[in-house]
C-alpha cells in the first residue's frame, strides 16, 4: 500500500466526516447559528482526536442549509486546533474550483497540520453551485475530468505544463507551497454505482465510496468493479486504498441509536434532498448485512468488521452529525467510539490479530 498514507498491517482506519450541513433540530425546529455550527465542527475534530479517531473531514456544498462553503478555511482551523488526526475534504468539488488554488490551499493546510492533509475530490450531487460559481452545467463531466487530472498533475509535478478547455494554460508553472512530503493523497469521490467506481479504476486513483443505504454486498460489487478495472488498465489494485463513507450513529442500544438518529436523517433529507429516508430501510440498519452503521457499539463493531471482510478497505468514515444532531449527542458518540468501537476494530483488523 504505497498510495495514501497507510502502513501495511495497520488495520482499518476509522474516521468521521461532516457535509457541513446546517439544519434545524427535527423536534424543536430550531437552528443554531452558522457561527456555532462551524465552531462545533472544529470542536468535534478536537474531541475526535482525543478519542483516538484516525481521520476527520469536512465537505463543500453551496446551497441552503449548509455552512461550510469555504471548507478549506474550516479545515485550516481544524489543522491548527489538532495535532495527530488526519484531515481531509468530503468532498472538494473540484469541477467548479481552480485546481491551482485548491492545491495551494491544501498544501498550506498540510504545512499547518504538519503532513496530515488529504484531498477527496468529487463533482457534487447537487448542482446549484454551477450558477453560483459561474460554470455551465452542460460541462458537468468534462469539468470534473479535466480539473481532477490537472489537480493530480500538480501533485505529481513541481513544474507544470498543461493546457485544457476550462482554464488558461499553465507554462512552467510552479504551484506553491509544496506539501510537507512533496505530495498529497488525492482520492476520487465515487457515488454508489459501479460505472462511477470504474472511472476511478481506469485512472488508478484511490477511491472514496459513499454509501447511503442498502446491503453491504451491493457495494462489494462496486468495489470489485473498481479493482478489476484498475487491474485491466495496468494498475496494481493492492496499491490502491479504498475508503467508504456513510451514516453512523451509536448509543447504548441499537433501538436507542435508531430512535435518536432517525428523525435527524429523515427531516434533514427532506430539506436537502426533497425526500425523507424510508423508515423501513432505516430499520434494516439493525441487520448486520445493512451498510447503515447505526446501532449499539457491539452492533457497529460487528457491522464494520463484516464490511471490512467484504470490502478489504483501508478506511471507514461515518457521518454522525447530519440534520441538527446536538453537541451533547456528538460527544456521547465520540466517547463510545473511543472507548468501545475503536479498540475492537483495531484488535480485529490489524495484521496478526488472530495469532
Amino acid at each position: 500500500m504505497d498510495k495514501g498514507r497507510f502502513k501495511s498491517g495497520q488495520g482499518l482506519e476509522f474516521g468521521l466526516y461532516t457535509l457541513g450541513d446546517h439544519l434545524p433540530h427535527p423536534e424543536t425546529g430550531e437552528r443554531i447559528s452558522a457561527k456555532q455550527r462551524i465552531q462545533e465542527i472544529i470542536e468535534v475534530a478536537k474531541l475526535a482526536e482525543q478519542a483516538g479517531i484516525d481521520f476527520i473531514s469536512v465537505g463543500e456544498s453551496h446551497q441552503d442549509y449548509f455552512a461550510t462553503q469555504a471548507h478549506t478555511v474550516v479545515l485550516g482551523a481544524i489543522a491548527q486546533a489538532t495535532e495527530k488526526i488526519k484531515i481531509g475534504s468530503s468532498s472538494t468539488i473540484i469541477s467548479t474550483l481552480d485546481p491551482v488554488r485548491v492545491y495551494e490551499d491544501f498544501s498550506t493546510i498540510d504545512l499547518i497540520s504538519e503532513g496530515r492533509t488529504e484531498i477527496i475530490a468529487g463533482r457534487a450531487s447537487r448542482i446549484g453551485l454551477y450558477d453560483l460559481l459561474g460554470y455551465d452545467l452542460h460541462d458537468y463531466e468534462e469539468l470534473y475530468e479535466e480539473k481532477f487530472e490537472l489537480l493530480r498533475k500538480i501533485n505529481e509535478e513541481e513544474v507544470v505544463n498543461w493546457s485544457g478547455n476550462f482554464r488558461k494554460s499553465l507554462k512552467d508553472a510552479k504551484v506553491l507551497p509544496r506539501p510537507l512530503e512533496g505530495k498529497l493523497p488525492i482520492w476520487r469521490a465515487v457515488g454508489g454505482t459501479p460505472a462511477s467506481a470504474m472511472k476511478a479504476g481506469y485512472a488508478g486513483v484511490p477511491m472514496f465510496l459513499a454509501h447511503l443505504g442498502g446491503a453491504a454486498s451491493h457495494f462489494k460489487g462496486t468495489i470489485d468493479a473498481y479493482r478489476e478495472t484498475a487491474k485491466a488498465n495496468g494498475h496494481d489494485p493492492d496499491s490502491l486504498p479504498i475508503a467508504t463513507a456513510g451514516f453512523f450513529y451509536t448509543a447504548e442500544t441499537t433501538q436507542q441509536a435508531q430512535r435518536e438518529y432517525y428523525p435527524h436523517i429523515n427531516e434533514g433529507m427532506k430539506l436537502t434532498n426533497g425526500r425523507g429516508f424510508p423508515k423501513q430501510q432505516f430499520a434494516q440498519s439493525a441487520d448486520i448485512r445493512s451498510v447503515v452503521n447505526v446501532g449499539s457499539p457491539q452492533q457497529i463493531i460487528e457491522k464494520i468488521l463484516y464490511q471490512h471482510e467484504l470490502f478489504g478497505h483501508q478506511r471507514y468514515i461515518g457521518q454522525m452529525d447530519f440534520g441538527g444532531v446536538t453537541m451533547a449527542q456528538l460527544r456521547k458518540n465520540i466517547e463510545l467510539i473511543g472507548t468501545e468501537i475503536l479498540p475492537a476494530i483495531r484488535k480485529y483488523t490489524s495484521k496478526g490479530h488472530d495469532e
Binding site: Q63, S125, R126, I127, G128, L137, Y140, Q255, Q258, R259, Y262, N273, G274, R275, P278, K279, Q280, F282, A283
Partner: protein
C-alpha cells in the same frame, strides 16, 4: 390530523378534453375533506429537464415539481399523442427524482380520440408510475371524443366512473397510510 393533500394534474398543453375531465375530477373531490390543487400544465411555463435535482429549479418548474412532491395523492389526466403520453407529461416525470411517488397513490384519467388507444395506460404510463414507486389505483377512466360536447362530459357513465375513481383513490391512499403507520409503529424508533 393533517388533511390529505391531493394534486390533480392535467398533463397537456394542447386541447381541452383532459382539462375538462380534470375539472370534473376536482368537482368529484368536493364531497371529500381534502386539500385539492389543480395543476394544468397549459397554465405554466416549465423547463425541459436538464438533469438537475428538482429543488434546484425555480419559477413554475419548481412550483409544479414541489407541489407534486408534497402530495399524498396524484390524479393524472393525460391525452394520447402519437400513440403515447404527451411529452409535457413525460417531462414532469423526468424532472422528478427516481422514487418520487413512493408512498403516494396515483390514478389515471386518459382522454383519447379513439378507443384503439385504450391499452396505452397499461402499456406505457403504468410502467413509468411503477418505476417511480407509485401505488397505482388499479382501474383508470378512459374518456373518448364522443363523451365530450362543448367542453362538457355528456356521458353519465363517465361521471359515475370518475366519482368511483376519486373515491377508490382516496380510500386506497388512506388504507395504505394506515397500514404504513401500523408497520412503522412496529419499528419503535
Amino acid at each position: 390530523m393533517n388533511k390529505m393533500n391531493v394534486v390533480v394534474l392535467s398533463g397537456s398543453t394542447v386541447g381541452s378534453k383532459t382539462r375538462t375531465a380534470m375539472n370534473q375530477v376536482m368537482e368529484k373531490l368536493d364531497k371529500h375533506t381534502v386539500d385539492a390543487t389543480l395543476i394544468d400544465l397549459a397554465d405554466y411555463t416549465i423547463q425541459w429537464s436538464d438533469g438537475r435535482h428538482y429543488l434546484d429549479y425555480d419559477g413554475d418548474t419548481k412550483y409544479v415539481t414541489q407541489t407534486i412532491m408534497d402530495a399524498d395523492v396524484l390524479l393524472i389526466g393525460t391525452p394520447v399523442f402519437q400513440a403515447s403520453i404527451p411529452g409535457t407529461l413525460k417531462n414532469v416525470f423526468d424532472l422528478l427524482p427516481e422514487r418520487a411517488f413512493e408512498h403516494k397513490t396515483v390514478s389515471v384519467v386518459m382522454t383519447a380520440g379513439s378507443s384503439k388507444h385504450y391499452l396505452i395506460v397499461d402499456q406505457q404510463l403504468k410502467p413509468i408510475l411503477n418505476y417511480m414507486k407509485a401505488h397505482i389505483t388499479q382501474s383508470f377512466v378512459f374518456v373518448e371524443e364522443k363523451d365530450f360536447l362543448n367542453k362538457q362530459i355528456i356521458n353519465d357513465d363517465i361521471h359515475f366512473r370518475l366519482q368511483d375513481l376519486v373515491d377508490d383513490t382516496l380510500l386506497l391512499s388512506e388504507t395504505l397510510k394506515q397500514l404504513r403507520e401500523q408497520k412503522e409503529a412496529e419499528f419503535d424508533f
